[in-house]
Structures are given as structure tokens and as C-alpha cells.
Amino acid sequence: AQSVTQLDSQVPVFEEAPVELRCNYSSSVSVYLFWYVQYPNQGLQLLLKYLSGSTLVKGINGFEAEFNKSQTSFHLRKPSVHISDTAEYFCAVSDPSGSEKLVFGKGTKLTVNP
């Protein structure tokens, strides 16, 4: 079975500071990896995904993530955050050879302060 661990439940940062949201996964097979963002009272929106190929993946809103197979990690980064980045961020994994259902972590609440 697959699982995802998001190591930080809350991350407060100041505007224009860099941020890293950590994600580790557990799987006995190769995986697809995703980061979703959820704004208050909204559904989830895809930020970026890793399917194969280059381990550095760029997404929307200036976010990027790096797939590290040896460390089973997929950390999300942004060099300079804005107030509008305040939201909940979810890391998810799916099995390419299975039904492709998403298994989510518990989420990281990013709060950007002025």
C-alpha cells in the first residue's frame, strides 16, 4: 500500500521569503507524484506533477518540486512567496500500474505574513 507523509502541518513564513514544504512517500512500486493546493472553501487545484523523466518539475504560480527516488521525497519549493500563496498544500501519490487513485498526505498549512 502507498502512503504519504507531510512532515510539517503548519509553515509560517514572511512575504518574499523562500519556502519548502516537505513530502515523503512510501511505495513498493514506481509512482506518480502530485502537489495540490486548496484555498479556503475551494476544491483542490493541481500545482504540478511528476510522471517520469526530469526529476525537477515546474508548476504554476512559480512553484517547483524535485523527485528524489533514493530518499523517496518530493519536496515543494518556491523562491519568493506572496500573501496570496496562503493555503493548504497536499502531496499525493498514485500507482501508474493500478487504478491511479490518489493517496493524499494530511496537508501543510502555509501562512504567508506581511
Binding site: 476544491g43 483542490l44 493541481l46 501508474p96 487504478s99 487513485k101 496537508g107
Partner: protein
Amino acid sequence: EAGVAQSPRYKIIEKRQSVAFWCNPISGHATLYWYQQILGQGPKLLIQFQNNGVVDDSQLPKDRFSAERLKGVDSTLKIQPAKLEDSAVYLCASSLGQGVRGTEAFFGQGTRLTVV
């Protein structure tokens, strides 16, 4: 392009009552998911449809939850009878499916259920 539509947005019911949620996926999307998101947790898959067939319902509490996807388009999720622990946001999502690997799942805004 219209997104995934869900209704109602909010619902408050008493325990032991029944409730139903509706989802209309993005046109042409073969795969439809229902997720349950309890406060402070990530979404958990309840059921996955491919067209009108069930692919995965291993985490659906079948003694009280049921779901159907008639004609492979709209879907309804029902809870009968509801328990206090069913209070959560119910998210519907859809994706192209049909053997296209790694496609994005698009989520609706969800239905927030409160059981009192």
C-alpha cells in the same frame, strides 16, 4: 470549459437522517472519484468509477454509504443513516481516464456536511 459541479455546497442534518450529494463531472471525463475530507486530514478516496463501472470502493462504508453513476456521467453519493463522524467535506473529482496515464484529476468545490 465548465469545471466539476457539485451540489449542495453545504448541508446540515441530524444523526440517523439520510443525505445525498450530486456531482456532474467535466464533459468527456470517463473517471469519477468521490473523496471524503475530514477536518485536518487529506482527502480519502471513497469510490472510483470508470464510466459507470466501479473500479475501487474498498474504503466505502457499504453499510451506510452508496454511490451510483448512471449512464456514465452524473453521480450521486448517499449516506443512510448518517453518523456524527460523517461530518466532512465530500469532494468529487473527474479525469480523462480511458487508459490515458497520469492525467490530472479536476476537483469540484465540495459539499460540506455537518451531522448534529
